[in-house]
Subunit: 782 residues, 2 copies
């Protein structure tokens, strides 16, 4: 990875305004990780803990006739075996996001009741003295299922979904403008049938849940939490009939989240309920096969999309009907992916009319939910395929075609009569055309076309493609941060955010350091634990840096103002002439005297300081940042691929992600995000797919069958971080950087493969598997 | 126990104003305790923990020539053995209270350096895989000490204290008025030489320290904390060179505190340092012998006191010189007991002139500090002995004599030109004479005298005595409480207070319930952990109910006001017509509609509620109560004793504690406090004494030698809780109730023993041991 690397830098001593934000400082998170002192779920242990093993359905669909745990219960060392009757009082897991009326019956019970709906569905839970015993005992649980036909095609006719499945298929509709009129007057109509395969985040660390009940304090603790601790706390409390303040969730290190980890799953509730009822700490660590079967899948959609265009290739309307394969249950997201897909499909283009119908369909597969760039990876593929097809049909250069349709800077902020995640879509800022130029320049597009021509002449099957994307980030409405300076001058920042490895601590510390005038490395960032702050939103939707970062900025500014106000009279100076550098209040003009440290100020503001009489003591502030609208980062992906004519394997030789994120708090971390995101996009484009046989048996339950890209598959990745369009919606101009690396990979590689094959529109399905490529090569053969 | 028992009562459903405070509701603390789910220090365990054993000095005084840990280190399973060289960088434990210049060199190092100063002083620490191994290994540590003479008499001439001990004896002086003139003009001068023995709190649960370092979060945890968590956190952090926010202390259940538990001791620091350095959780549980040798002793003082009186027995002046036997080191209290003794000696009496010199003396015994009613148990004994002696000398009835000298209600608030704990003594309120009358009436004094006469006539050796005391409580300057109502309507109260078993949770919940209008039993009280609130004062000096209780009142009032303000516009009513009952905002006039629950209001005030834009969300308030002056509860103790002429044993037959505490939040808990406090006072009066032989070897290191009163020794105890003199210094009129049961026991029993023996002034020393009584009986024998 090269790119706009600012180079690792040490801002520990650099502590004045303007010296922390924007620098590629080393991560606060790393010391325990590089010293082998990470605390992943499996590292959490408590005395007297027992181990949970989940007995899972081995059929995709059937009536659950009986579950006989007699033999399992008789095994020495087995503490308990639970079936659905044992957890009958625990309601199904509700959805927290994008609630669609009518889906409630399809929420998942913690253990299957009368019917199993996918291979891997929890049927029973075994609790035993060790994990091996638990697994052995689970094998002794006799499950009798009467098989039923499995529904596996989300685009199948609705009749196939009854009985007992999804009897009232749900359709999410959005749109604006007169689509029918646009199609009626169109110069051309281009129609495609495109599919994205079923894949998902497969974190290095599988899920884990270690629940412990502290009877003395009446506290239920769940360790191994991630992503949405506060919401999960509230729901665990509600589902188990406890006050929220009697439940606390703790996030340790997280070995990859990607959207799938940290949702509320049946296993979390089982572990918590067992810790309460069996009065022993309960540990559950997901094995890899379970991770493939039980953790949220994502992506699988089929789009039948049509575009109406004028003679210059300008979009007049898009009409999209798509089928979202949700799997067997509606999980915590509700219909969020469908909502995102429908709302984000138009991307960066001016679009007068739009109609979309997203069919939310339940099938007999593992339930699906959000995975990095949810709904956007799919629809960027669909939209950009469509743009390429329009270009082909009208014989316009695909780059030129895009240029004609891009929303112009002068049109920003650009409201689009759509809503997504309950928020009106207003593209907040952007210079799309400029970034396109920069990307083409950076990728050396012109020279590349020449080099491709030369290589083709020598018989190579090479091609290049690009795709434009618009991301969304910074979902509101609010986020709060509390910053406290103690009597030693140490700064503690408490946030309800979570971290799934992306460097939240470092970024928040940099923002705090910048605003407060202290070194970033001494700041203690506390997050991922519900006992330290009343509210929190975790880490999702590329919102942490925007929302928690902006709240951090405000809280640090407030602490700064308090410090200056307290110090000024003691220094006999006006607050206006003072600043804070390296934790020392001093004159702005550079004079080192008089001065006062933050530690001294904090002591002045201590609980026994007469000055604090009638006030709340402490050099501390909690501030909340509010936002009505999301911010919209955007970017361009460029791919150069080479196809092996003998195997059909697609090799990505070079790749560029150009991404305007408004303001890069730490460019090194942004690059890391983009590189990791790209790898996941690459997996979905070429390798990763959860496949099922015709009975609904999963075929991808090991890394031998579910292929994730490795270092070998990673191309030379170039990252262009642009800051040309700061968001006007927050004080630092931040837009989220978590998903731009993933978003357009399928789209760009598809275009490059088309180009290499010399068959525009050839790629209609992701992943682009060698077999497909071989067939396309054969088709092209003379 | 009978008395003004209000009877256990259930206020769970009674939740309106006036229905929670003052009722004898059952304790919130009890469910885990009565179900065997208490969490005492020994119950805390962590995986991979190692056990610490402390090698202690076996000589009272000597030069430490060498410590050879070779054999101990070689024992399989021993992880480390530390001597002073291993902890050279850890400073001595500082004092937090009543700092006296010049005492700093006598603070205790965590391990003895060049000299040992008392039997039991830590010399080395052994860390091993289990507690038995650690103890075996400790036995293998070879300690070579060159013996030196031990100093054991605090009243010995100063020359005896050098060398290497306390070379500059410290004298705490207080006083007012012209003492010499008063003595010059006195009708009579009465002089006594009185001693109180060395005893202390011996909690059922010995101390414990379980330290754990969480490297992933860079958090050092200390479990088994008590009393002063926040101060101890700050000092542990400072002494170990860490930021305070990286250290957290956790109090579990505490099996008795009494002032001695929860101070910062060498073992706490050793466990913390080892957890950090050895990278294993470290568990230390004090054994009983260690508890006798290592935990703070208290009380031992000798007073040479003189009173100048007029012909009517009115006090003109008191002149006291006393010697406080501090033991070998100055611990966290500094010279607090001496300060308290000097400042509180005058008690309830009008005193024109006063001079006191408290000699703070270091001896080769276990260090001493505060123990329930510190300085007051001693000086009430001294002062009341003095009053009895004056009565005898002037042939005035001792009750009448007291009456003549009591400060009158009309004189309240009564400033006394003294300070104690850095705060000016102003007796805030009281009707001393009334309580004396009530006590005499309740005890049936007149009838009792007749019954005593009758019993004496039949040969019994019986007598009655009484003593008056003034306590102090509610030490300021400030205390804060945070109260939050969550979206389910559950109330959480977070306090920096600690609980050593006295029922803090219940009392704070009652006050919160009363102010807020909710049931007390659903309130979750969180305290005793430094991670939930930034500042705290723990539990000491009978201050929790006064200070934290008043802060609770204010915070709950603030939450109530917020709730009414939020609800009023939604209910289309003015806040003035609204009240809260059972957690429901409703009309004061009793109409049940319209209404709104606190849960609904909290949801209205949630972080995503548009109404909270620009505000800090949450139905929550943190309030701080400030106080410049202490409150002064007071009381009368009456004792009836019967002496066994054959053994000299004193049996207390009946006992009354009459105590005006301003306002009893929960009379049942106050009675419990008084009963427990009385038992400890009884121990000090008749049974408990740490004795040493002439070389400084302790003779009382088991319960066979150190006698604590059991149920057999407990008399029929009557408790009269008076609320005639609410404190004007806080909103509920509260005065502390923690120490009044202890304060005057020695004094009252001494008077009763005198009376039984028919020898006024015979008792000059506590405890009143059978041998002494036998000698007195012999002296009286014809």
């Amino acid at each position: 990875m090269d790119g706009t690397t600012h180079g690792p830098d040490d801002a520990r001593m650099a502590a004045g305004p303007g010296e922390a934000v924007g620098r590629a400082v080393t991560r606060l998170e790393d010391p325990p990780l590089v010293r082998g002192r990470g605390l992943f779920a499996a590292d959490v242990n408590f005395p007297r803990q027992i181990h949970m093993r989940v007995v899972r359905a081995e059929l995709a669909h059937g009536l659950l006739r009986s579950v006989d745990a007699t033999a399992a219960r008789a095994l020495p060392g087995v503490v308990a075996v639970w079936t659905s009757a044992d957890v009958a009082e625990i309601p199904s897991i509700p959805f927290r996001a994008t609630k669609v009326q009518g889906l409630e019956p399809y929420c998942q019970p913690v253990l299957a009741r009368d019917r199993v709906r996918y291979v891997g569905e929890p049927i029973a839970a075994v609790f035993a003295e060790d994990a091996y015993l638990a697994e052995d005992a689970a094998d002794l649980v006799a499950v009798d299922i009467e098989p039923l036909p499995a529904v596996l095609d989300a685009a199948a006719p609705p009749a196939e979904f009854a009985p007992g499945l999804h009897t009232e298929p749900t359709i999410v509709r959005k749109g604006f403008g007169d689509v029918d009129a646009a199609f009626a007057m169109a110069h051309a109509v281009i129609e495609l049938d495109l599919s994205v395969g079923r894949h998902s985040g497969v974190p290095l660390e599988t899920r884990g849940a270690i629940a412990r009940y502290d009877a003395a304090r009446d506290l239920l603790e769940l360790h191994g939490a991630a992503k949405k601790q506060h919401w999960n706390r509230d729901e665990i409390a509600r589902l188990l009939g406890r006050p929220p303040s009697s439940v606390h969730l703790f996030e340790g290190h997280v070995g990859g989240g990607f959207g799938v980890r940290g949702e509320l799953y049946p296993e979390d509730l089982l572990a918590c309920a067992a810790a309460l009822r069996l009065d022993r700490p309960v540990k559950w660590i997901e094995d890899r096969r379970e991770n493939f079967l039980a953790t949220n899948h994502s992506r699988q959609q089929r789009h039948r999309i049509r575009a109406a265009v004028d003679a210059e290739g300008r979009l007049l309307a898009i009409d999209d009907v798509f089928f979202h394969d949700q799997g067997a249950y509606v999980r915590t997201h509700g219909a969020r992916v469908v909502d995102l897909a429908a709302g984000m499909l138009p991307g960066p283009y001016r679009l007068p009319a739009y109609r979309v119908a997203g069919h939310f369909r339940l099938t007999n597969k593992t339930p699906a939910a959000t995975y990095r760039a949810p709904g956007r990876y799919e629809t960027t593929f669909v939209r950009e395929r469509l743009m390429d097809a329009i270009a082909t049909r009208l014989a316009i250069d695909p780059i030129e075609l895009r240029r004609r349709n891009l929303v112009a800077t002068a049109e920003m902020p650009y409201p689009r009569p759509l809503d997504v995640l309950g928020s009106d879509v207003v593209l907040d800022s952007g210079d799309y055309a400029k970034l396109l130029d920069q990307a083409l320049d950076r990728f050396g597009w012109k020279a590349l076309r020449e080099s491709i021509a030369a290589r083709r002449a020598s018989g190579e099957c090479v091609g290049a493609g690009l795709a434009f994307f618009v991301e969304k980030s910074g979902l509101g409405p609010s986020d709060g941060v509390r910053i406290t300076v103690d009597h030693t001058g140490t700064v503690e920042l408490v946030s309800g955010a979570a971290s799934v490895g992306q460097g939240v601590d470092t970024v928040l510390a940099q923002i705090c350091a910048e605003a407060l005038g202290v070194g970033y490395s001494g700041i203690r960032v506390v997050r991922g634990r519900t006992d330290r702050i009343e509210f929190g939103n975790g880490a999702h939707a590329s919102r942490v840096t925007v929302m928690s970062g902006s709240a951090t900025w405000q809280a640090a500014q407030a602490v700064r103002a308090m410090a200056l106000e307290t110090a000024a009279p003691l220094l006999q100076l006006s607050p206006e002439v003072l600043t804070i550098r390296d934790g020392i209040v001093q004159r702005k003009d550079g004079a080192t005297e008089p001065s006062m440290t933050l530690a001294e100020i904090a002591r002045q503001m201590g609980p026994n300081s007469p000055a604090m009489r009638g006030r709340t003591p402490g050099l501390t502030a909690e501030k909340w940042f509010w936002s009505d609208h999301m911010t919209y980062p955007y970017g361009v992906h460029c791919a150069l691929v080479c196809i092996d004519r003998g195997t059909g394997a697609v090799k990505v030789e070079r790749y560029l992600v150009a991404n305007d994120i408004g303001r890069a708090i730490n460019p090194m971390l942004v690059e890391g995000q983009i590189a990791g995101g790209f790898a996941q996009g690459l997996g979905g484009a070429l390798y990763e797919e959860f496949r099922y046989d015709e009975t609904g048996q999963p075929l991808s339950t090991t890394f031998a069958d579910y292929l994730i890209p490795t270092a070998t598959e990673m191309p030379a990745l170039d990252v262009l971080i642009a800051e040309d369009a700061p968001s006007p919606l927050n004080p630092l101009g931040i837009k989220g950087a978590g998903e731009g690396g993933t978003n357009a990979v399928g789209a760009a590689i598809a275009a490059a493969v088309d180009d290499a094959l010399g068959q525009p529109g050839a790629v209609t399905t992701l992943p682009i598997l060698p077999g497909t490529v071989m067939r396309l090569l054969d088709r092209a053969a003379p």
